[in-house]
C-alpha cells in the first residue's frame, strides 16, 4: 500500500518536473509551474514550494510572494468538493451576495474555509464570465446557471452526500 502511494507520488511530482523542464527550469515559468502543482496536488504546500524554489533556483520568498499574490493559488488543502460562488457585477445585481451569505450560514464556514469533515470548501470568483446566466456558481467544475438559493442548496446537499 505504502509503495503504491510512493509510486503515485513519484508520478505526480514527475508532472511538475516535466513542466519545469519544458521551460529549461527558467524562473519566468514559475507561475506556470505553480499551476501544475495546484492542479496535481490541489494546493501549494510549503514542501512543494521549497522544492520548486530549489529546482528553479529562485528564493523561497519569491515563490511564496508569487503564490500569495495571485488569488487563484491555494495554500491550504481543499475539501472533497468545492463550491465557487461568482461575485461579479451581474451576479451581485441579481442577488449572488445573498446566496453566498446563505451558504456560509448553512455550512458554518466562511469564504476560503472548509467544513470540519472536509466535505466542502467554499470559494468565490471575481467573475466567471457567464454573466448572462447570473447568478452562477461552479461546483466541482460544473457551472450552475441561473441559481436560486434553493437550487444551490439542493445541489450541494447532493454532492456532499455522495462524498460520504
Amino acid at each position: 500500500m505504502e509503495r503504491l502511494q510512493d509510486q503515485q507520488e513519484d508520478l505526480r511530482w514527475k508532472a511538475v518536473q516535466r513542466e519545469m523542464a519544458r521551460y529549461g527550469n527558467a524562473p519566468h515559468a514559475l507561475i506556470q509551474v505553480l499551476h501544475v502543482i495546484q492542479n496535481t496536488y490541489g494546493y501549494l504546500s510549503r514542501e512543494y514550494m521549497a522544492r520548486v524554489a530549489k529546482s528553479m533556483r529562485v528564493s523561497l520568498s519569491r515563490v511564496y510572494g508569487v503564490a500569495t499574490f495571485y488569488h487563484h493559488f491555494k495554500l491550504t488543502p481543499m475539501g472533497r468538493n468545492t463550491c465557487t460562488v461568482c461575485t461579479g457585477t451581474a451576479c451581485f445585481i441579481k442577488g449572488g451576495e445573498g446566496i453566498l451569505r446563505a451558504v456560509e450560514a448553512e455550512y458554518g464556514i466562511q469564504v476560503g474555509q472548509s467544513t470540519p469533515d472536509r466535505s466542502l470548501t467554499l470559494l468565490t470568483a471575481r467573475c466567471l464570465g457567464a454573466c448572462s446566466l447570473a447568478p452562477v456558481a461552479v461546483v466541482n467544475n460544473q457551472v450552475l446557471p441561473n441559481l436560486t438559493l434553493e437550487s444551490l442548496k439542493a445541489h450541494l446537499r447532493e454532492v456532499t452526500k455522495d462524498a460520504q
Binding site: 507561475i31 488569488h71 451581474a90 467573475c127 464570465g129 457567464a130 454573466c131 448572462s132 447570473a134
Partner: protein, 545 residues
Amino acid sequence: MLSEDLTVMAQKRREEEQSFSQQILVCVAAGCISAGSLELLRAIKETISGKGLQHVQVKGVGCMGPCDNGPVIRVEPHAVVYRGLRPFHIQAHLEAILNGDSLNDPAITYIPTRACQVENASTASLITFLTRQHRIVLENSGIIDPEDLADYLARDGYSALYRVLFELSPNEVIEWVTQSGLRGRGGAGYPTGLKWRTVAKAGGGTKFVVCNADEGDPGAFMDRSVLESDPHRVIEGMCIASYAVGAHEGFVYIRAEYPLAIERLQKAIRQAERAGLLGKGILGSRHDFHLEIRYGAGAYVCGEETALLASIEGKRGQPRPKPPYPAERGLWGASTLINNVETFANIPVIFRKGPEALSSIGTQTSKGTKVFALTGCIRNSGLIEVPMGITLREIVFEMGGGVPTGQFKAVQTGGPSGGAIPAQYLDMPVDYESLAQLGSIMGSGGMIVMDSSASMVEVAKFFMDFSVSESCGKCVPCRVGTVHLCNLLNRFLARQASYEDLNRLEWLCDLIKNTSLCGLGQSAPNPVLSALRYFRPEFEALIGG
C-alpha cells in the same frame, strides 16, 4: 490565395458545406455548455443519423449571442433560433425544427430572425437583438466550428495574413491599420496604428507581441467568447502584428478562469503550427513567429500592461511607472507590443476588405464596431457587436428589450474603472469620448443594466470592495486610499455619515485619482464619483446622526 494544400483544404470544406441543404448549428461556448448544449448536440446528431437525413449538417459552433435561457441553436437556411431545447425535445420536434416552425412551448424561445411582422413583443425584441448587430469581430462566431482550422479557412481565414506577408511591406501594414482608425479595444482607446509604429521604430534585436486576454472586469466576457468561438482570428491578427513590428515571439496572457478558451486556443495554435501558419518561414515567407500561452492566476491588476508583463516574467503582477512604455521597454527589457483580444480580432478584416471596412463605420473619432456583454436587469442579455456611435437607448431598450421591472435606473460601463450612466443620457452615442465625458469609460465592453431596486451607494461599495481586494499594494494612494473609501461608504450604509463625510469622500476620490501609480488606482474612484455625480441624493438620504 494560400499555399496549395491550404487552398485545397478550404475549397474541400466549402464543397462539403454546399452538399448539405440544411444546417443545425448548436452553440458550444462555455455559457451554453453549462446549460447542457453538449448533450443536446449529441441528441440531435444521433436523431439525424438515426433517421438517415444526409442533407442535414449538425455542427457545434461558437457563441451566437443571446446567452440567457441556453442552449442556443440556429437552423439554416431558415435563420431560426431556438433556445431552451432539451435532448428529450428532439425526437418529438425534429421535423418542426427542420422546418423552422414554432414549437408552441413556453419553455422554448422561438426567434424567427427573418420574420417581418411579429406580434409578440418579446420575440420582436429578440429579433432586433440579433439583427441590429454589425458583426466584424464576431463574423464567424456561431457559424464556424471553433476547433476546426478548415472551417476558418473556408471563410477566407488566413487570407489576410497571406496578403500581408507577400504583398505588403511592414510599413504599409501599419499604414493600413492607421487608416482604419482602429483604437485599442481593451478600454483606453489608444490608436492601434500609432502603437504599432512605435514598436516598429524601436531599435534593438528582440521584440515581442503580447495579447492581453486577462479579461478581469467583472461583467465582461467578450474576449472569452471570441477565443472560444473563433480562436484562429486572434492568432492571425497577432501574426500580422508580428510581421508589422518585426517580432518573432509572442504570448497570449489568458486568465486561468477560462479553461475552455485556453483549450480551444491551445488547439488552434497547434493546428496553425502544423499547417505552417505559425513557426518558422510562415506560409513559405521569410517571416518567423512563435506563439505561446501564459496563464494568469486571478489578479485584476494584471490587465494593466506593465503588471501583465511582470506576470509573464513569472513575478508578482505589480505595475511600474510609465514611461518607459512597453513599446520602448517591455518584456525582459525588449520593445513589446500589447493589444487586447478584440483589437487583434479586428485586424484580419482590414487586410481582407481594406481599411474602409472599419473606417466607414462609427463616429468621427471612434471607428468600427464594439462588442458588448449586455447583462444585469435586462430582458435580453448576452453578447452583441454594434457600430460605434449607436445610442445607449438603442442597446438597452431596442436590442436589450428594456428592463423587466420597467424602471431603468442606470447602465454601468467600464467595470470597476468606469461609472454608471443614468437615464437622462441614454441618447448619448457610444464612443470613447462621449462615455469619458459622462464620467465613465468605454472599458473592455461590460454593460450592466440596473433597475430602480439597485442602491447606487451599495453598487459603489461593491466596486470599492473589488478595488480593495485587487489593489496590488505597491503604491500608498491605492492601497490605503481604497480602504478608507470603503470605510466611508460603510458609514453611509450604516447611516452614520455626516455632510463632512460627503466632502471627505470627494476629496479622497480626487486624491486617489491623481496620485496613484497605475490605471487601476487612477480609475478606482470612478464608480464612487459617478454615483456622486448622478445620484447624490441617495448619499444625502443616508446621512444620519
